[in-house]
Symmetry: C2
Subunit: 67 residues, 2 copies
């Protein structure tokens, strides 16, 4: 089900200043961020269709995020 791998999420938590990162922490952040991604992506798909396109473009993502 999950698409985003845990390793980059762990690196981001370390970049944020963590000494150590629990495995459960990376999974929790990944799950949340992946849900957010799907919500923005769904909005972007609707916005692309609204603009008469079959291709989702950055302008659709940008507008989805700003809404």
């Amino acid at each position: 089900m999950a698409e985003i791998p845990l390793a980059p999420i762990q690196r981001l938590i370390r970049k944020a200043g963590a000494h150590r990162v629990g495995e459960d922490a990376a999974a929790a952040l990944r799950d949340y961020v992946e849900k957010e991604c799907l919500e923005y992506a769904s909005m972007a798909v609707e916005l692309a269709a609204h603009a008469g396109r079959k291709t989702v473009r950055a302008v659709d993502i940008d507008l989805a995020i700003r809404r």
Copy 2:
């Protein structure tokens, strides 16, 4: 600079119903999501320190997201 690869983000946009995904779209969503990740991770690092821990745990991430 970017940690999260584009391929899983493209798959998520397709899961959301996209026929085609522009490369710029995946990059835009990745950049946004990665920024969000760093913000939540920074909060979580502070919350772990506040609880006297050096390890960031899921409870820190959860509280950071709920705040």
